[in-house]
Symmetry: C2
Subunit: 226 residues, 2 copies
């Protein structure tokens, strides 16, 4: 019943890579929205330090190493750099629960000497790359790929943009959409099957390019006519 | 001096494929904005029929076959389906003026039995495919790839969205941006080199997907935070 994600539900959300800028911001906002959050990190102590400074949230926030966080959750948010995905998923294989939902946030870009490069992913997108490395019983959706990490981490102000969701099943997409809709000012836009992540990830490239060319930090998108 | 594109300038804009929904709408709006427009088509008579029903514009609108239109213009808008690009550019080779600016609108999608498919383009994007088929003295920019054709053709109401521009030189980009800015409600967003068309064309895929899933016609994008 992950599609009923709401404050007070029994869902437990592990944010893997929850001490990075993006993961930290999302985890804090989820907790602020009343969800039960477990902040995961390579090192549980780092997760503890991250959470220590947070304002009081409706639900207590738990911390764990990534495997421990995943083992306690029915929803896992994958908020690590794309380059860390392979070793992390390999390590986490035994810890996925049947029917768990993974939300992939990764975008296959690297920054070399300040220059952004899109990594060529054999599967077509980071999302499809992740899908190929998850147990078949685990469902996968994409979300939060285009909302700026910088903005996620800056308090709880409205995010004022749309967030594109795709996934490998209607249920995965509707659960991810419900999660997006919990954050003030974020509207989920369901764009269909997992392969649409190819388009979504290019949107992130465009946002980064706009940030750099126009010297802004928070370029993001709104769909007009919807 | 193409970057000075404005009503009353000496620029002459050929819209190649100017009888299709997108080309027609753009040509009419350019003329309405006071530019000197030549509507090109495979068949000049079709171009004449298209223009016959138009409301009076500041400048008289000329018609010609595509080669004739190109021969009279310093700016050419490529508004044909992607599948027609190769034969058209081959036919037009001798007609390009040195230093002319081409604005590429094409997106490499096909519709087979109602299903949208992205054509795999060896060069990485339709824009780069076009670049490889233009004389080296001709400059190339992309624009108008994401504004819905349906909306372009529906009168002169404000388009209310952003339009992504990229190109092979600063001058090509600034000329294309000036052209975008002439249409009410359209803001140019310069995203850099021509290869960024890979991202822009994926944005069009996303807009089509949104139109279909949400049963709307005019999904388009606005950049927030800019």
């Amino acid at each position: 019943m992950a599609s009923m994600i709401q404050p007070g539900s029994n869902d437990r959300i592990a944010v893997l890579g929850g001490t990075g800028q993006q993961g930290r911001g999302l985890a804090h906002r989820f907790a602020h929205a009343g969800l039960r959050v477990i902040v995961g990190s390579r090192d549980a102590d780092r997760a503890r330090e991250t959470v220590a400074g947070w304002s009081r949230t409706g639900q207590p926030v738990e911390v764990a190493d990534n495997a421990g966080a995943l083992g306690r959750a029915n929803i896992a948010v994958l908020a690590v750099p794309f380059m860390s995905v392979d070793p992390l998923l390999q390590q986490l294989q035994p810890h996925f629960k049947d029917g768990a939902l993974v939300i992939d946030l990764t975008v296959p870009v690297t920054f070399t000497a300040g220059k952004m490069e899109l990594v060529d992913v054999a599967e077509g997108s980071a999302a499809e790359h992740v899908r190929a490395r998850l147990p078949p019983t685990v469902r996968l959706a994409c979300a939060f790929k285009t909302v700026p990490a910088h903005l996620l981490g800056a308090g709880f102000g409205p995010l004022d943009c749309d967030e594109f969701v795709c996934g490998d099943s209607d249920e995965a997409r509707s659960s991810a959409s419900a999660l997006v809709a919990l954050l003030p000012g974020l509207r989920p836009v369901d764009v269909g099957p997992l392969s649409r992540a190819r388009s979504i990830e290019q949107l992130t490239v465009l946002a980064i390019a706009i940030n750099r060319r126009y010297k802004v930090h928070d370029a993001r998108f709104r769909v007009i006519g919807l």
